[in-house]
């Protein structure tokens, strides 16, 4: 790592800090760096949020309009035309969760992938903890997710489906964590890859496009046989969506083995992605 600046205030002035490239094939993941720079991460996120809404006519209303229009389209196509059933509960609420979670995931990954090259001038001119740029891209799309999630809860209550305590207390927080970790892995990997190969961003775009179809966004996993449901949950989004829906629409908690499988994949991707990032971050300033 290149951090010549001690990340914790109070550490300054004590000893020497070496500026050397890590040559290890297995550098430390250094998650503490993310935590100790949370203020800078927040500043980056606030910047991106402000910039996004500053000159928009509808401003923050977009955060509500997008999931509503998306879920409405899903309802029309999958529920009315293709008559997909979600266990007798509101399909509209189901689709709101699916659409909002997908929007969070795809927005975070798209902006996260280009976060380092978008801050290229900072990389080459200021010594700052580089992990801050991709990490901060996980925050702004939280606004849309929160608005979409609230709308889903309102619909679930309004149509009489109700909410469940287990879903709200267990499913919702676990679902959010799984969703964020699932996004953080690919972001770490591809933000570093794009510094070297600009067209890695194309790979991400196409990958997201394919992933949209193999994620239970518009259809419930129960539509598939047991065997295929298990395979589906290798996709971390499947587990995250099941957990989120239990919290936001009052559906049953997904099976523990399914959640565990999704969490395992997300964890492996996160580990590999962050490792790739740490192995290459010392060269970003030279090649960006």
């Amino acid at each position: 790592m290149t951090g010549i600046r001690p990340s914790r205030p109070g550490a300054e002035g004590v000893g020497w800090i070496d500026n050397s490239a890590s040559t290890s094939r297995l550098p430390p993941l250094n998650l503490r760096e993310v935590w100790s720079n949370r203020e800078l991460i927040r500043f980056f996120a606030i910047r991106d949020i402000k910039v996004r809404y500053k000159q928009a006519f509808l401003g923050i209303a977009w955060a509500g309009l997008r999931p509503l229009l998306g879920a409405l389209t899903f309802t029309l196509v999958f529920n009315r035309i293709a008559t997909i059933d979600v266990g007798g509960r509101s399909y509209f609420a189901f689709a709101l969760v699916g659409f909002s979670a997908w929007t969070y995931f795809s927005t975070a990954i798209t902006t996260g992938t280009t976060s380092l090259v978008a801050n290229a001038d900072l990389l080459t001119k200021v010594a700052f903890p580089k992990v801050v740029a991709p990490a901060s891209s996980l925050i702004p799309p939280m606004i849309d997710l929160t608005v979409g999630a609230t709308l889903a809860m309102v619909v679930a209550v309004a149509v009489g489906d109700g909410l469940s305590a287990a879903g709200l207390l267990v499913g919702l927080p676990l679902g959010v964590v799984l969703l964020v970790v699932a996004a953080a892995g690919p972001i770490s990997f591809f933000s570093a890859a794009v510094v070297k190969y600009r067209d890695a961003a194309e790979v991400v775009g196409f990958g997201l496009y394919l992933l949209l179809f193999i994620s239970p966004i518009a259809y419930p996993p129960e539509l598939l046989s047991d065997h295929w449901q298990t395979i589906l949950h290798l996709n971390p989004l499947a587990g995250a969506l099941g957990l989120l829906r239990s919290g936001l629409t009052g559906s049953d908690l997904p099976g523990a083995h399914h959640v565990a499988l999704s969490a395992l994949t997300a964890g492996v991707f996160f580990f590999v992605g962050l490792l790739h990032f740490r192995r290459h971050e010392h060269e970003f300033a030279d090649i960006v």
Binding site: T2, G3, I4, R5, P6, P9, E12, G13, G15, W16, I17, D18, N19, S20, A21, E39, L40, F43, F44, I46, R47, K50, V51, K54, Q55, V117, N119, D121, L122, L123, T124, K125, V126, A127, F128, V194, V195, K196, Y197, R198, D199, A200, H282, A285, D286, I287, V288
Partner: protein, 409 residues
């Protein structure tokens, strides 16, 4: 002298050109290269450039160290290694205390955000906490002279306001070591004076400053000790005055004809520049009264609206005299792809002395090429006669006799 706060031991920094330097490469090129090497074809050669080589240096606490050298000598790379922006390829670089880098003022500003928002953001990027910035906000605003403008988005700032805010934030961070790269190349005289005053204040507060500039006068005022970097190595180190004299006398600095390496991926670039006489031959000495042209060859690969070329003539000690742009004349002939030769008449106004020319190619939004001090030339004549004169204007004088001496009007 205080304890050491910067120590470099045989530091080298190697860049690979051709492989992935400048803009990123794409996967296809790498795959093609891999494929080529698998079937036994040799890889296209990648050039290694050692921007720094075998640099050993110790800086004591509270010292102000100047760094001089020609363009591309490695000054900026040295600052980036010390500042922790890039890592050395070989050798060891270490620092004690926080390093604040002022490589380019205003880096990280976002146009849509207000001055206040950018101050907090920029402060955070430079390692200041929210409280640090709040505590110093009044000083920062006052130094920048931006009272009443902090709620304005910086995109509505003039370039001077932008610079002042950027410098002010950086100057108020509490780094033990401040690394300053050529901030004085921009901004008006008043701003430069304030910057220098602030830097000497920082120095007197016991902090360490590393200062890169082409402005030799400023360097002599601020730094007791100076290091001369030449082609990546330390050529000479010692008291600032003697180093500057040796550097200026060396003549390793610019010539009268300069060719640049060609980068096929660049949207627009300068390929060659020369100072030529009326006969088209390169000149390094101009005579008063004879006409000279600055001749610049360009390759423009993309269509770039409003592309402009400018040249700046400065004295050897770094005082800028002219800044003339092609677009000043309303000419945008170089905006479409093509190979161009542009000639600018160098006005016959310079007093005898030594001068250097810098070039810039770009638009209001983007710099495509920036070459500081690429050409040097001499205007011959007797300098001793008028030591303070830079420009010969041939001012019109009028005299009239108002009466006889001895009579009071």
């Amino acid at each position: 002298m205080g304890r050491a706060v910067i120590e470099l031991d045989k530091v080298g920094k190697c860049y690979r050109l051709g492989e992935h330097h400048g803009s990123g490469t794409d996967l296809r090129e790498t795959l093609a290269r891999l494929g080529g090497s698998m079937i036994g074809r040799s890889r296209p050669s990648t050039r290694e450039i050692w921007a720094l080589r075998d640099v050993s240096l110790t800086v004591a606490e509270g010292q102000a160290l100047g760094i001089i050298g020609a363009n591309g000598a490695g000054k900026s790379t040295l600052l980036k290694v010390i500042g922790g922006i890039t890592t050395p390829t070989v050798g060891r670089s270490r620092t004690r205390g926080r390093v604040g880098s002022l490589i380019e003022v205003g880096t990280g500003f976002h146009d849509e955000l207000t001055g206040l928002e950018n101050t907090y953001l920029n402060g955070a990027i430079l390692g200041m906490s929210r409280r640090d910035v709040s505590d110093r906000l009044d000083e920062i605003v006052e130094f920048a002279g931006l009272e009443g403008f902090m709620e304005t988005p910086v995109k509505r700032y003039s370039s001077g306001m932008y610079l002042r805010l950027g410098f002010s934030i950086a100057a108020h961070m509490d780094a033990e070591i401040l690394v300053v790269d050529e901030v004085l190349a921009v901004g008006d005289a008043e701003f430069q004076r304030r910057c220098l005053a602030k830097m000497s204040e920082i120095e007197h507060s016991g902090r360490t400053i590393l200062f890169v500039s082409h402005n030799m006068d400023a360097m002599a005022k601020l730094c007791q000790t100076t290091v001369w970097i030449d082609r990546g190595r330390i050529r000479l180190a010692g008291p600032t005055r003697s180093i500057i004299d040796a550097y200026l006398a060396s003549g390793t600095t610019p010539t009268n004809d300069h060719r640049f390496g060609l980068d096929p991926s660049a949207a627009a670039q300068i390929t060659e520049v020369a100072l030529v006489g009326a006969d088209g031959r390169p000149r390094s000495t101009l005579h008063s009264g004879s006409s000279a042209w600055l001749q610049v060859d360009l390759v423009v690969n993309d269509s770039i609206p409003e592309l402009d070329l400018a040249f700046i003539v400065s004295t050897r000690s770094g005082v800028d005299l002219f800044d003339e742009g092609l677009a000043d004349t309303g000419c945008h002939d170089i905006s479409t792809p093509g190979v161009y030769r542009v000639r600018a008449h160098v006005p016959d106004l310079l007093a005898p002395g030594e001068y250097v020319i810098s070039l810039w190619l770009g638009t209001q939004l983007e710099d495509f090429a920036k070459h500081e001090h690429v050409l040097a030339f001499t205007v011959d004549g007797d300098v001793v006669d008028r030591p303070r004169r830079r420009i010969r204007l041939g001012t019109e004088w009028e005299t009239s006799q108002k009466g006889d001496s001895g009579t009071t009007p």
